[in-house]
Amino acid sequence: MSEAKSVVRENALEGVRVIDFSWIVAGPQCTRILADFGADVIKIENYSNMDYIRASGGADSPNRSPLFNTLNRNKRSLTLNVMHPRGMELLKTLIKKSDVIVENFSSRVLEKWGLGYEEQKKLNPGIIYCSMSGFGHSGRDRDFVTWGPTAQALSGLTYMSGLPGEESAGWGFSYMDHTGGFYGTIAIMMALLHRNKTGEGQHLDLSQVEAGIGLTGTSVLDYTVNNRPFRRDGMPPGNRAPEREIAPHNSYPCRGEDRWCVIAVTNDDEWDSLVNILGNPAWANDERFATMASRFANQNDLDEFISQWTINLTPLEVFDVLQNAGVPAGAVQTPMERAEIDLQLKHRGFIAEVEHAELGNTKVESIPMKMSETPWKLNKASPLLGEHSAEIYMDLLGVSAEELGTLFEEGIA
């Protein structure tokens, strides 16, 4: 640990300092969680080379991007130009005072800077270096590049999402940026535990595609054990659950334009409750629907009957009436419903508010858990570009006020 250890701790990752070279979504998702748990995350950019996501959302300032704000809260921003020798020297000083380095550049960037893991280790033997590239730091395709959608496509996740006979629906966002970020966080925390025990640091070589492949275990086993490829007629399964052989399990149209709910009946008790809520219609007594197996076999007809009921209700009405009767059901919630209506998210304080110097009062998603001893804290909004440069240079790196002026003038800071 770089800071003095304290027994009374307010934050789970108190005392951990993270140098954050990560950009866009995957890396910032990883370091956001570390920052939410109280790590001192120092995000390094400079004026000519800043996180692209600062420009998202049509923002006309590098500090007004909605997605940037939600991904980078609780972090500090340092402007530093590593291409300048003095900048590199200061970075090396920072490495000596840090615990973790995170980057999601393509796979040779830090080596080109002369800052591969072996060099980092010379500066700080306990350093944990987490590289989050598309294909990993070894292998014939290590120079290939990914964005979230690329990793989803290659790993199989895109193909697994859709209606049979149609093109892939895929994922409507960079799921593997979020999840690649989770694996970065998981790996770093496991490596911190390893270091607590042994004093050893290490290089964590993450690949966004491999993290995606890791989520396809059952389908790969079906191929290696049963020789059955996922690419076959009838797949992907839409919103049905052929692997569980349960029905009804699907999406159903609701009142309103393009509004939908889902219902998933997993046992006979839930089926009886569903039939009861539907008012015991005559069709429900048909022998086609007498058992789970027969309901599964006749689910086209079953889904048609259920749709005739759901179409008269809103998705949240279906959710409410069925869940109160013990039947698993949900609304396909819109962003508005999640932000404004969802009673549970309100109760749990999921949307948190924080003051941002340019955006005013902003809302961000909370970390999705409550911890009894070290709950997360929303200490600050995303940093303005260079907001913490002066304090980091002077308080942490020992730069004099005089030199600080020079660093800014010469474009080093």
Partner: protein, 432 residues
């Protein structure tokens, strides 16, 4: 009493986990076991219900042959016990008293009703970390509602972003693969690890209340920020990002009937010239070498989005689609990546077994022995999701139902054979 670790060198070596999880949380235990933790899975009599989920080896349903169960439960031991029985509860308490972590995903209130709340379990073990991973959380108006995977993905806003914009009447889509449960498990594990790290300094464990609902709601990229900051509602589009304004289609069909994700076409002039040069070599650039397309590419992707007249860009995309349609997916994927375009082939999961980078160079798939099926039987599994240079990933096959019941009770908890006979006669455990 101590619970010895069965493995030697993973990052979580020395950590003992008691797992009381079904489909929502079992991935947490797997990820910990694969990194060296000793994971004792508590299963009800007859085995966990996930053992009934297919596909099955040779399509023969059997609790020890579910591939779904295998893939989510590697590196665990199985203790089959009735925890609704007071003797069973004693066993759980004794295990928890010597454990580092309890993971559970029951409905809120169920374990406390058995005298197995965090307070009960940590009474003799203040270092215990306990993570409850529920559908909606331990409190609040939805706390008792049920949330199988599809409900978590619907309520979490993920389905709202996934589906089609060119298949009339089609619903939002749940990406298959239990991802609502996996997102929940990833966050449950993250909280657990943070608590373990904190414990190394504070000496105290803690209780973590995590929910699939909040986990999914925090995993939808632009959807919430767009609404919260701009008042804009994203909508779903076929095979590409949600957006509040329509974006060009990115799925392109190849000559072998597969697809590629193609994007960032007009990102900058340099990459545009590389693309057109590649197409020209194949004699398929058509009119794309004309000056006006260069002007378009100079504007970058931002300029494209602002343009009101998209005739040229639509035409350019059509020409690119014709070029792609004349080649195989593998040809376009490798050709594009060699030019540094982040294009990806839409693969089916098993197709990565044939990819030399992942299968050979990176050893992403691993043979795991199944001695219960024959001396030399092993199957190829998806391997490590991260590469640690000092603390290796290492998995062994999922346990058979109750495989370790006797050894845990006798070796770890010191039950005599007479004690075990009594438990068997009371149906608290069963004898395999």
């Amino acid at each position: 009493m101590t619970l010895p670790s069965t493995k030697t060198d993973g990052a979580l070596k020395g950590i003992t986990v008691i797992e009381l999880c079904g489909a929502r949380g079992h991935f947490m235990g797997k990820l910990m076991g694969d990194m060296g933790a000793r994971v004792i899975k508590i299963e009800p009599m007859g085995g966990s219900s996930e053992r009934q989920i297919g596909p099955f080896m040779n399509d023969e349903p059997h609790p020890d042959r579910s591939l779904f169960f295998w893939s989510h439960n590697t590196s665990k031991e199985s203790l089959e016990i009735n925890i609704e029985d007071s003797e069973g509860q004693k066993v759980i308490k004794a295990l928890a008293a010597a454990a580092d972590v309890v993971l559970e995903d029951f409905a809120p209130g169920y374990l406390p009703s058995l005298g197995l709340s965090y307070k009960d379990l940590s009474a003799n073990n203040e270092r215990l970390v306990m993570t409850s991973l529920t559908a909606f959380g331990q409190d609040g108006p939805y706390r008792d509602y049920k949330s199988p995977d599809i409900v978590a993905l619907a309520m979490g806003g993920i389905m709202h972003s996934c589906g089609y914009d060119d298949v009339p009447g089609s619903p939002p889509i749940r990406p298959s693969g239990d991802h609502g449960n996996k997102i929940a498990s990833h966050y449950g594990l993250i909280g657990t690890l943070a608590a373990l790290f904190n414990r190394d300094f504070s000496g105290k464990g803690q209780y973590i209340d995590a929910s699939a609902h909040e986990a999914c709601n925090s995993t939808t990229e632009h959807a919430l920020p767009s609404y919260l900051y701009l008042g804009a509602t994203v909508f779903r589009q076929t095979g590409r990002h949600h957006s509040a304004t329509p974006t060009p289609k990115s799925l392109c069909k190849t000559s072998d009937g597969k697809y590629l994700i193609v994007f960032q076409l007009f990102n900058n002039l340099h990459s545009w010239l590389l693309l057109v040069g590649w197409m020209a070599e194949a004699g398929m650039a058509e009119d794309l070498q004309e000056e006006r397309y260069k002007d378009m590419a100079r504007g970058g992707s931002r300029g494209m989005r602002m343009a009101t007249d998209t005739t040229d860009s639509d035409h350019a995309l059509e020409v690119v689609r014709r070029f792609i349609a004349a080649h195989t997916a593998e040809e376009i994927y490798r050709g594009a990546q060699n030019l540094k375009f982040p294009w990806g082939q839409v693969r089916s999961p098993e197709e990565n077994l044939e990819d030399p980078h992942f299968a050979e160079d990176r050893q992403m798939f691993t043979d795991i022995p199944h001695p219960e099926l024959g001396k030399s039987v092993s199957f190829k599994y998806v391997g490590r999701p991260y590469r640690f240079t000092k603390s290796p990933w290492n998995a062994f096959r999922a346990p058979l139902v109750g495989e370790h019941t006797m050894s845990i009770l006798s070796k770890d908890l010191g039950y005599s054979s007479d004690d075990l006979e009594v438990l068997i006669s009371k149906n608290t455990i069963s004898c395999h």
